[in-house]
């Protein structure tokens, strides 16, 4: 500062540019001085490098691979692709909503008091704690029409000859995949929504009780308005994760019978590696962008504003 004043007295013109440059530098550096700014930049560098090398570059490369409009015409003319899009929409819409609504109800159930509820919660989160691969492989074998556990149980207990869940019909197989996905991920969202419910001050419920509110009213007027935002964010996040879910479809139905239960994520990998057409694979995945972009924008906004509330 002193230096600037001295200069100011000596040569007004030079100083204005000098202080402007200095102000400009201060703008870029924030409140950091000299070497501290260099350190701050150095600390961010590793992440910036990871982001550029493993996110930006692949994204640009992917878009470049799938740049040709002819690829999309080729896709649209394939019956498998059209079926895949229908599957993806069904998978996401049914899977996400059933899972999230179930999680909302179960999060209320697990707020009950009592030792057995706590013990049950520990068991209930097992599907989330176990890696996806073993459980989906187990479900695949469990649903085998001839030797699977499910049909054995149906036969032993009820005398019903169960169908081949994964081998015979597209809808049975797709239903099985969606159910497996819900089985795996519902515990996770239940735990998240429970955390949201626990953050609600107990006084609100006490006040509602004094006013004579019924259980349904307690839920409608106290619980839901307070977890609604969290519920929305979770649903959006879950939609994106479900859209990108590869394991459920790949290991439970494998896309079968006759390639009828693929979703975009698995068909993309199939096109790229089994059919050996990386450009077509990338195009398959990129065709989800019209659905993805609005979701991502909405979610990024929501996540930024709800950070503190979560």
């Amino acid at each position: 500062m002193d230096g600037a004043q001295v200069l100011d007295a000596a040569e007004p013109l030079a100083t204005t540019t000098f202080t402007a440059a200095r102000r400009g530098r201060r703008y870029w550096r924030g409140n950091l001085q000299g070497s501290e700014y260099a350190w701050a930049v150095a600390f961010v560098m590793p992440y910036a490098a990871v982001f550029l090398a493993f996110v930006v570059y692949p994204v640009i490369y992917g878009v470049w691979l799938g740049r040709s409009p002819a690829l999309y015409e080729e896709l649209a003319s394939e019956p498998i692709y059209v079926r895949t899009v229908v599957n993806t929409v069904l998978y996401v819409v049914i899977g996400v909503n059933v899972k999230m609504f179930g999680a909302l109800l179960l999060s209320g159930f697990f707020m009950r008091r009592g030792w057995w509820v706590k013990a049950l919660l520990l068991i209930f989160v097992l599907p989330w704690a176990i890696p996806a691969l073993p459980s989906f492989m187990s479900i695949h074998w469990m649903l085998n029409g001839q030797w699977g556990l499910l049909n054995n149980i149906l036969w032993t207990l009820f005398g019903i000859d169960g169908p081949g869940w994964l081998e015979t019909s597209r809808w049975l197989a797709l239903g099985s995949v969606i159910t497996s996905h819900i089985w795996k991920w519902m515990p996770f969202w239940t735990v998240i929504l429970m955390a949201g419910r626990m953050a609600i001050p107990q006084e609100l419920y006490e006040a509602a009780d004094i006013d004579g509110a019924t259980r349904l009213q307690r839920f409608n007027y106290v619980t839901f308005p307070l977890v609604a935002n969290l519920y929305l964010v979770c649903t959006l996040l879950s939609t994106i994760f479900t859209l990108g879910d590869f394991n459920s479809v790949y290991f439970v139905s494998g896309g079968g019978p006759a390639l009828s239960t693929h979703v975009l994520a698995t068909l993309g990998i199939r096109n790229a590696f089994e059919v050996a057409r990386p450009d077509l694979g990338v195009a398959t995945v990129l065709s989800a962008l019209p659905l993805m972009i609005p979701l991502v924008i909405l979610l990024m906004r929501k996540l930024r504003t709800t950070e503190v509330q979560l």
């Binding site: 870029w28 924030g30 409140n31 950091l32 501290e36 701050a40 930049v41 600390f43 961010v44 590793p46 992440y47 990871v50 982001f51 493993f54 996110v55 692949p58 490369y61 992917g62 691979l65 159930f109 009950r112 049950l120 068991i123 209930f124 599907p127 704690a129 176990i130 890696p131 691969l133 073993p134 459980s135 492989m137 187990s138 479900i139 469990m142 556990l149 499910l150 054995n152 036969w155 032993t156 089985w183 996770f188 998240i192 955390a195 949201g196 996040l237 994760f241 859209l243 990108g244 879910d245 394991n247 994520a265 990998i269 590696f273 694979g281 990338v282 995945v285 930024r304 950070e307 979560l310």
Partner: protein, 296 residues
């Protein structure tokens, strides 16, 4: 007459209340049983298939008639040609997991120290980049990622997998660290600065020790992510010696006659570490998840 009424009414109300509460408890128990069956059926299936002796998988029994631990013994001794490198592959998984944890914590904490504590002006750019990575499904990036790893000369290399896992774990780390960092008073940093501490000293001596709970939560998350992830490990690793456990496990499926009892026994051995870690750090992890974003 009126005296009798006033006496019996509260009593009747109490029995009504008790009856309703018992009914509610019974309904809750019924729901509990349904949840229990729903949750445990696929897990029960893993256990009974693993306990069957080789060749007994094709059965119509719903419990193991003559349970045997043969499959576990075969895994322990690597006695099946699909399992010949099993413990080596187990080591690979562990190596990938630990390297991912270390790098995620290092890169994530350095970045969030710079953004949150040193308040670098371009911090919002980094935060947004992290947020964007967080909401891109990993499977959508797999194809170009695979080809780029070839360009980088990392095909069939564990470091390619580590790079992928770190890429997808750091955004979450930055997210959590920044939120947790808000609770640590910035005055501590300022005091240290006045005493002449350099930024590295503040990072190492003040920031890291105070961030310990967040480091544990994120470390657990990164370890489980790397241990459980399949798609990238499958695409990037091709030789038997470089494979990790999930890739080796899925390889069974492609063999002509899938040995289901060995597969399910392998599945149990593979699942035990993450489940144990999960239960040990459950509270920390849940707090972390609720605090910041949510990764499915």
């Amino acid at each position: 007459m009126s005296a009798a009424l006033t006496e019996s009414r509260p009593a009747r109300r109490r029995t009504n209340y008790r009856r309703r509460r018992n009914l509610g408890e019974a309904a809750a128990l019924a729901v509990g049983v349904v949840i229990l069956i729903w949750t445990l059926t696929p897990i029960y299936n893993i256990v009974i298939v693993a306990l069957e002796a080789h060749g007994d998988v094709f059965t119509n029994d719903i419990w193991p008639v003559k349970p045997s631990l043969e499959s576990f013994w075969v895994i322990l001794t690597q006695g099946h040609w699909y399992l010949e490198y099993f413990w080596h592959q187990f080591g690979n998984s562990l190596y990938v997991g630990l390297a991912t944890v270390f790098l995620t914590l290092l890169i994530g904490s350095l970045a969030s120290f710079s953004i949150g504590r040193m308040r670098i002006r371009q911090g919002w750019l980094v935060s947004n980049a992290a947020l964007l990575t967080y909401v891109i499904p990993a499977s959508f990036l797999a194809i170009p990622f695979y080809r780029i790893m070839h360009l980088y000369g990392l095909s069939n290399n564990l470091w390619a997998v580590i790079a992928a896992e770190v890429t997808f774990a750091t955004p979450y780390a930055i997210f959590i660290f920044q939120q947790y960092g808000v609770s640590i008073p910035i005055e501590l940093d300022e005091a240290a600065r006045i005493d002449g501490a350099s930024p590295t000293q503040i990072y190492y001596r003040i920031y890291l020790p105070l961030m310990a709970p967040a480091l544990v939560a994120v470390g657990t998350y990164a370890l489980l992510l790397a241990w459980n992830e399949y798609l990238y490990q499958f695409l990037l690793l091709s030789s038997k010696r470089s494979m990790t456990v999930p890739v080796a496990l899925a390889q069974f499926l492609n063999s002509d006659e899938a040995p289901w009892n060995y597969m399910m026994a392998t599945a149990i051995v593979y699942s035990v570490p993450p489940v144990a870690i999960y239960y040990a750090f459950r509270r920390r992890m849940t707090a972390g998840l609720a605090m910041g974003g949510i990764k499915g």
